[in-house]
């Protein structure tokens, strides 16, 4: 059963140094507020898992929270590169960063395996590409019926998954809709799960296309209005494309980034 707590309390109790942490949300509902809280609480040595690292992981990497990144597409959508990620990879600033790299199909299936209690998933993927030789979590299996060889990827089971949703009821059942990405799988694959929400409501009236996460598979629900900005929350606010473009200049420059980091830390004080 999820406890309804503050975001600082949720992060304090459930996110630990050296954890494997997944913050998911495919373009939509990216849990930025939770990412910033992790920065403020100074977690270190995290293995960050996410299909599309996006700005939120560029920020966590630049803040020195991460020692490893597991991902399938690392860019600033429509803008360019993730400069903090590039800097950490190239120069080890502020701390060295290891990577484990997949395709989207591979990462999605790793979460599916994790959510399903299986040690691996099978897919038609990676054949002929150079990825398998660099990524230990890609292997192959032979179909016992046809003899065909297929790709296998190991399950991902984060210590903690954090997602953002539109709303929760007072028991901690969560509802999200619009583009729902891989959030259900990321939550069900995790040992612990935190959901930040735009609002608490008395009742979760049904919404077309909604995914519901029952309270008994969650550990904490925290109210964080605007918690997905500068990404968006369908039905609540739009994507702040200007912020995405402006991140390019901030993240290119260590000093500009350091100023940004200071402002995030002060915002929590």
């Amino acid at each position: 059963m999820a406890k309804i707590v503050s975001l600082p309390q949720a992060v304090s109790e459930l996110v630990r140094d050296n954890d494997t942490v997944a913050l998911e949300g495919f373009t939509h509902l990216i849990p930025f507020a939770a990412g910033h809280e992790i920065i403020r609480q100074g977690r270190r040595g995290l293995t960050l898992v996410r299909m599309t690292p996006d700005l939120v992981y560029d920020q966590l990497i630049g803040a020195g929270c991460a020692s490893k990144l597991v991902f399938s597409w690392g860019g600033n959508p429509g803008v360019g590169s993730l400069h903090r990620m590039r800097d950490a990879l190239a120069t080890g600033w502020p701390v060295p960063l290891e990577i484990e790299e997949h395709s989207h199909a591979g990462m999605a299936n790793r979460y599916v395996a994790g959510a399903s209690g299986l040690p691996f998933a099978v897919l038609r993927g990676y054949a002929g590409t150079d990825l398998p030789e660099h990524t230990a979590s890609i292997s192959s299996v032979t179909c016992p019926f046809t003899g065909e060889e297929l790709a296998a990827v190991s399950a991902v089971n984060p210590d903690v998954t954090i997602v953002h949703a539109q709303r929760a009821d007072r028991s901690g059942n969560v509802q999200l809709w619009g583009i729902t990405g891989v959030q259900k799988e990321a939550v069900l694959a995790a040992r612990r799960a935190i959901v930040t929400v735009e609002e608490l409501v008395d009742e979760l009236t049904p919404v077309p296309g909604a995914v519901v996460l029952p309270t008994w598979v969650l550990d904490a629900v925290a109210v964080a209005p605007g918690g997905a900005a500068p990404s968006y929350a369908h039905g609540y606010y739009h994507r702040d494309n200007t912020a995405y473009r402006e991140w390019d200049a901030i993240s290119r420059d260590r000093e500009a980034f350091t100023r940004w980091l200071k402002s995030v830390k002060e915002a929590g004080a």
């Binding site: 495919f26 373009t27 939509h28 299909m51 599309t52 996006d54 991902f71 399938s72 597409w73 690392g74 860019g75 959508p77 429509g78 803008v79 360019g80 590169s81 990620m85 590039r86 990879l89 190239a90 790299e101 997949h102 395709s103 989207h104 199909a105 999605a108 299936n109 979460y111 599916v112 897919l123 038609r124 993927g125 990676y126 054949a127 002929g128 590409t129 150079d130 990825l131 660099h134 065909e148 060889e149 619009g178 583009i179 729902t180 990405g181 891989v182 259900k184 799988e185 296309g209 995914v211 968006y232 369908h234 739009h238 994507r239 494309n241």
Partner: protein, 283 residues
């Protein structure tokens, strides 16, 4: 190369040529940027029943305005249905039920292989690119792949530094040996012309020049000994309807209509530097 040829830009020509390559009723796996612009253009012109599928899970989207990212809210709002990301890859892409996939990359080689991962060595790259995204499986599973990218010498290489997405591997038999079900890259559309695989060798050869472009200009931007087909064509120039429709398309959150000098889809989505290629510039 001038940025305008006659009354249209080279990027407009590329977008319109890409739109023409889509047929009505096809299901198309769309990347953001130029593929999205081209696919939405085709839907407004000759292919009203084109089914647009985005890897964020939106199926049969009919956005009034062009999305900015691959997961924009207007894609979900205008979709016939929205499914999860695992489902879009496992149930929709993987079985081979998608007709066309658009791809691009930082590097494309003579065998149609694509690199969106690194320039240089993997462990110590000269340039770290965004990585795979959906591309490897789009390249493997769509019935056909169409590659759209600007024709630059640094991008059109003899052999890619890293195979992110397989075109024809090392030769005509490789896709079969690898168990890849789709036909591979049947067409490469650039701002200079169009390339297609040779029916025998599967090497990419020049089959069409855009109006006003010379073979020498294309060769100067191609990193291998480019073969030109005997029946080299000149791409039909954009019609007034094509140009008007393209320029009339709005992007979400923008009050500007597109106009050739600064606002073309191609300029926006292709010209954002090495490593963020068309169709790869969003998750």
């Amino acid at each position: 190369m001038t940025s305008q040829t006659g009354t249209w830009s080279t990027d407009e020509m590329m977008t319109i040529a890409a739109a023409r390559s889509l047929h009505d009723g096809q299901a198309c796996f769309v990347g953001i940027g130029l593929p999205s612009t081209a696919a939405n253009l085709a839907r407004r012109l000759h292919a009203p029943e084109l089914v647009l599928i985005y890897e964020s899970g939106t199926i049969d989207t009919r956005p009034d305005e062009l999305p900015l990212s691959i997961g924009d809210g207007n894609l979900a709002d205008s979709a016939l249905t929205v499914v999860s990301v695992p489902e879009i890859f496992n149930y929709w892409l993987q079985p081979g039920r998608i007709d066309v996939g658009f791809l691009s990359g930082a590097q494309l080689d003579r065998m149609g292989n694509i690199n969106t991962t690194v320039i240089g060595e993997y462990d110590e790259p000269d340039v770290r690119l965004p990585g795979s995204g959906g591309a490897p499986e789009i390249a493997a599973s769509c019935r056909e792949v169409i590659v759209v990218m600007r024709h630059k010498l640094r991008a059109f290489v003899e052999s890619v530094d890293f195979v992110t997405s397989v075109g024809y591997g090392d030769g005509p038999r490789d896709r079969g040996l690898l168990g890849l079900r789709g036909a591979g890259p049947v067409q490469v559309i650039t701002d200079l012309g169009m390339l297609e695989p040779d029916p025998e060798t599967f090497e990419l050869v020049l089959t069409s020049l855009h109006q006003g472009v010379s073979i020498e200009e294309v060769r100067a931007e191609t990193g291998w000994e480019l073969v030109v087909t005997a029946d080299l064509k000149i791409t039909t120039p954009p019609s007034v309807e094509e140009l008007t429709t393209l320029r009339g398309m709005r992007t979400v959150g923008s009050s500007d209509r597109r106009d050739p000098p600064s606002g073309t889809a191609a300029t926006r989505s292709v010209g954002i530097g090495v490593g963020v290629g068309v169709g790869e510039d969003a998750p």
